[in-house]
């Protein structure tokens, strides 16, 4: 049970294409977040479906919704119905597999994206009901965020001062941090910060963050525009 502050527009909402908020809308959102984490042209995507996702994805259009998200569609985009054809037309290969991810949430998917430049990205997320999602892993690093807030994800070297640098840079740009979590593989190795903010973060600020020493990558995920 994840009890973050619940917006009333998650209760009366989201506006979405049916048939299932957890299997269709949530799936589209996970796909959409994965696409932004990858942030480059995708040539192939494999979806590994777990639990209820694995058992019932066909009839809920879960596959169409995940793929629609990968193509950049929001959960209320009526083109989700045709996402298989649209992906083929865009030259994107895709395949669905069923998998047992242990005691992960029943509606969990692991998405592996191969970009045209040869890079591979893995994103795992769960659809936790009412269209809400939580992303639990990026490239084998455990993370946790919901996409309800503008979210910055860093990849950086785990060195003293990096976190302080980032937070002070954000505050000097008038950006308040709602949640900040730091994840790392081992001391002194690659680490990741997930920063959920109260304000949208401009490109200039993101560029500034990306230029910090020890910073290898910045990903920014803005909030779902369908509510605006």
């Amino acid at each position: 049970m994840i009890n973050t502050a619940v917006s009333i527009f998650e209760i009366i909402g989201p506006v979405m294409v049916g048939p299932s908020s957890s299997h269709t809308a949530g799936a589209a959102r996970i796909g959409n977040i994965a696409r932004r984490i990858c942030a480059r042209d995708i040539k192939r995507v494999d979806f590994y479906l777990h639990g209820s996702f694995a058992r019932t994805y066909k009839g809920h259009g879960t596959g169409k919704a995940l793929l629609g998200g990968i193509l950049g569609m929001s959960a209320s985009d009526e083109r989700i119905r045709d996402s298989y054809q649209l992906a083929r037309a865009a030259g994107i290969d895709f395949e669905f597999h069923t998998v047992d991810l242990g005691d992960a949430h029943p509606n969990t998917v692991k998405i592996i994206m191969q970009a045209t430049d040869g890079e591979t990205f893995e994103v795992t997320g769960s659809s936790i009901g009412g269209g809400k999602v939580v992303i639990t892993s990026i490239n084998d690093m455990v993370v946790e965020f919901t996409g309800q807030y503008p979210t910055i994800i860093t990849n950086h070297l785990d060195k003293p001062g990096v976190v302080a640098h980032v937070t002070s840079m954000l505050s000097s740009n008038g950006i308040n941090i709602a949640f900040l979590k730091v994840f790392r593989q081992a001391r002194g190795s690659q680490a990741s910060m997930v920063i959920e903010t109260d304000q949208e973060v401009g490109n200039d600020v993101l560029a500034e963050l990306g230029a910090l020493p020890s910073m290898s990558r910045i990903v920014f995920i803005d909030t779902d525009k369908q509510l605006e």
């Binding site: 049970m1 009333i8 909402g13 989201p14 506006v15 049916g18 908020s21 066909k58 009526e78 936790i128």
Partner: protein, 290 residues
Amino acid sequence: MYQFNHASELLQMCENHKLDISEVLILAEMEESGRSRDAIRGLMEKQYQIMKESIRKGLSPDIKSVGGLIGGNAHKLSVYGQEKGFCGKTVLKAVSYALAVTEINAAMGKIVAAPTAGASGIVPGVIVALQEDQKYSDVKAVEALFVAAAIGRIIAINATLSGAEGGCQAECGSASAMAAAAAVNMAGGSPEMCMDAAAVALKGLLGLVCDPVAGLVEVPCSKRNASSAVNALICADMALAGIKSFIPFDEVVDAMYRVGRKMSPDLRETAQGGCAITPTALQYAKRILE
């Protein structure tokens, strides 16, 4: 300031500040999201318009769901309800509207999840039917949506709104509680009456399992929206008549969560139990999923 986790806190706030539920909700959302009052009202109005649009589209006679199990039922009932029926015009209207939204949803059309897509027919069915038949204003109807949101929010915080976690009691049960409270509010009932209606509505559907045939949100979902809409109206009428819930809403929510935890995963959206494993359902599932 206006944040609340429980119905008891919400009622206390209504009492202390002499506000009604919808007003507290708007203030809480302003605080949490930083949006203006007008933006929040405007957004809710937009949701209401989309709800009406799904009803309008769903009443068409030639809807066909993705799985082919439902479609056209809303139309049938709305025609029938104009002349006949045991239940009275408003009830049949609410039911046909609830069916309409679920049929459009199953056809991969656009709906407002309220609180989920599977249970998306109940809240609009009740509110739109009452608005039409009782001649309530749009403002009143949108206010009722805020009341519905309050109920759903309390359930989301303290339990779950997901069929996969809590069974259908968490979806149709929650939506029925939301619609019941909304209906009471539209009729001018007090915040306490709204909570009584919600508590009784949720109690009435406690234990309801999630057993979608072939895993599709079609059968029994669509017609379960129908009966849950009627349940909401009955509970609203009871509360407005002065009948109280012996068990307070917060405790019913806790009970619902505990029942959900005890439900076998077979009965939580996996299509491994209940209606989903009847011979008819299995035969159909075999046909379409292979």
